[in-house]
């Protein structure tokens, strides 16, 4: 069974003690800056000067670097190669093979784009590693997000692994009755059809039981909900959020003026 369903790592650090909304603003802020800044090297700066030091501050540098090398780098490298090869821009050809060619411009464009995406995924990785999902949802609910909405998000994330294991059981059951799941691509797609019915209808039946279960725990109670977790929102958090919003606005203005 799956013991860990979130990326969150429990550590004692300044970054962990920040309000979840502040960290969410930080992740979005850094993404905006990386994408909108008119300077070419901004995304690289964001990663090197902000994200890596922040990961050290949050005591999650090992996990961050690991994720960056194993996950983010291969994905962005793939994006880089594809865009360098197939972006039909520029005339200065620096590499040519058969029908493939790379121009100076497409290379530069691909690098910029891959770096931006790298910075974006990095900043959200940082966010996910240091923010407990329950804390984020409690905080957002307290700020007015409907609790039903928060429930749908969190329970969906939790239920995915359960759905996967249920799908495995159904496949095994169908195979034992002679369903072929190997062979050509069409055969494989065809094999999915008898899976959909039991999985979808089975889940719909479960919805009623689940609704009863959470009703029995007062989910629709009209009283004001409280939270087990104490979520702090300090003056420092508020200042930091204001600075971040201001920074994004400045970048937008600069972007408009540069273009």
């Amino acid at each position: 069974m799956h013991e860990r369903l979130s990326f969150y790592l429990k550590r004692d650090s300044l970054l962990h003690s920040l309000n979840p909304l502040t960290k969410l603003t930080l992740a979005f802020g850094l993404t905006f800056v990386a994408f909108l800044s008119p300077w070419y090297w901004t995304p690289q700066f964001v990663v090197l000067i902000i994200i890596i030091p922040l990961s050290i501050l949050g005591r999650i540098q090992r996990e961050y670097i690991f994720t960056a090398l194993r996950l983010i780098l291969p994905a962005t490298a793939f994006l880089f190669v594809m865009q360098a090869l197939f972006q039909p821009i520029g005339k200065t050809i620096i590499f040519q093979f058969w029908f493939l060619h790379i121009t100076r411009e497409s290379l530069s464009f691909a690098f910029a784009n891959a770096s931006r995406i790298f910075a974006m995924i990095s900043s959200f990785t940082l966010f996910l590693l240091t923010t407990h999902p329950s804390e984020l949802m409690s905080d957002l609910t307290r700020r007015g997000l409907p609790s039903q909405f928060a429930y749908v998000i969190i329970s969906t994330i939790q239920i995915i692994p359960q759905m996967q294991s249920k799908a495995q059981t159904i496949i095994a059951a169908q195979r034992s009755r002679g369903l072929e799941t190997e062979g050509s691509i069409f055969k494989r797609i065809g094999a999915l059809v008898p899976l959909v019915g039991p999985l979808v209808f089975g889940s719909l039946v479960e919805v009623e039981e689940r609704a009863i279960a959470i009703e029995a725990r007062g989910f629709t109670s009209t009283r004001k909900k409280t939270s087990l977790r104490e979520i702090r929102d300090t003056g420092f958090d508020k200042t930091l959020r204001s600075i971040l919003v201001l920074m994004v606005l400045v970048i937008i203005v600069l972007k408009i003026r540069a273009s």
Binding site: R4, L5, S134, A216
Partner: protein, 280 residues
């Protein structure tokens, strides 16, 4: 003093013609442990939903008669206030996990958060409930990483922590293996000893005989029998109607027919009673 009072309760599910419950009269005393037995479709789950307020607040359909808990009628209350009167635990442990929480501790606190219990009160109440059901060692685990028996104990604790006046258990062990069943019954036994008012639907009559104060047999939506466990569970009235009957009772009944069971002594429900009887 009856804490639960059902008078002439008749209920028909939407889109059906025959009532699932008809003219049920039932009084339950405070601190009583009542077991409900009955074949499939006899209205056991419907009775549980009626007590827990899901009928008429969640399932529509037609409810006649009156259902009162602590002198308040279900119809005049709302479901989310009613959950503080009657707590419901049902069969499937997996579907009772809220899915909104990452640890057992948080899962158990979920109901209290919804009811707006202040934080300072939540922590001690959750801790106390965890100890009461003996799952304090699971507090930090993910509810999804647990076995069926453990999940069912979490579901039970999540309801207990809300301190309902009456606890309704609808076949709490029907989807569990023997180990899980024993774990859950262990907790239920300790609740019975604490004098909590419990209504439990259960097929496993050998367990029922061990801690019920009273047994009600439901048949086709009506109360067929109501009395002491031994009296009801060994009654000839249950034979051939699809009731769960202990194998010890059946064996002894057959033995009695052949003159091998001591005359005038009652039929057994549990293994120990059967051994004592056959020794004579």
């Amino acid at each position: 003093m009856a804490i639960v009072n059902l008078k002439q309760v008749t209920y028909t599910y939407p889109l059906t013609d025959t009532p699932a419950l008809s003219k049920v009269d039932l009084q339950i005393k405070e601190g009583e442990f009542l077991a409900i037995i009955g074949p499939n479709g006899s209205g056991k789950s419907t009775l549980c939903y009626t007590l827990a307020g899901f009928i008429p607040h969640f399932f529509k359909g037609e409810l006649e008669g009156s259902v009162e808990v602590a002198e308040v009628e279900t119809k005049s209350s709302t479901l989310n206030e009613w959950v503080m009167n009657v707590g419901l635990v049902f069969q499937n442990p997996f579907n009772q996990i809220s899915g909104a929480k990452y640890s057992v501790f948080e899962e158990i606190a979920f109901g209290l958060e919804n009811l707006g219990v202040p934080r300072e009160e939540i922590n001690p109440r959750v801790e106390q409930a965890l100890i009461m059901t003996g799952i304090d060692d699971l507090a930090e685990r993910s509810p999804y990483s647990l076995s069926g028996g453990q999940q069912q104990r979490v579901a039970l604790t999540s309801i207990l922590v809300m301190q309902p006046k009456v606890l309704v258990l609808d076949e709490p062990t029907s989807q569990l293996d023997p180990i899980g069943t024993r774990e859950v019954f262990g907790v239920i036994r300790s609740l019975a000893e604490r004098g909590i008012t419990v209504v439990m639907v259960e097929h496993k009559v050998e367990w029922v005989a061990q801690f019920a104060d009273r047994v009600v047999a439901l048949y086709e939506g009506q109360v067929l029998m109501d009395g002491k466990p031994r009296e009801v569970l060994t009654s000839d009235q249950l034979v051939g109607k699809g009731f769960g009957i202990s194998r010890y009772t059946s064996t002894a009944r057959e033995a009695a027919r052949r003159g091998l069971w001591p005359k005038k002594s009652e039929l057994p429900v549990t293994l120990d009673e059967a051994i004592t009887g056959f020794k004579k």
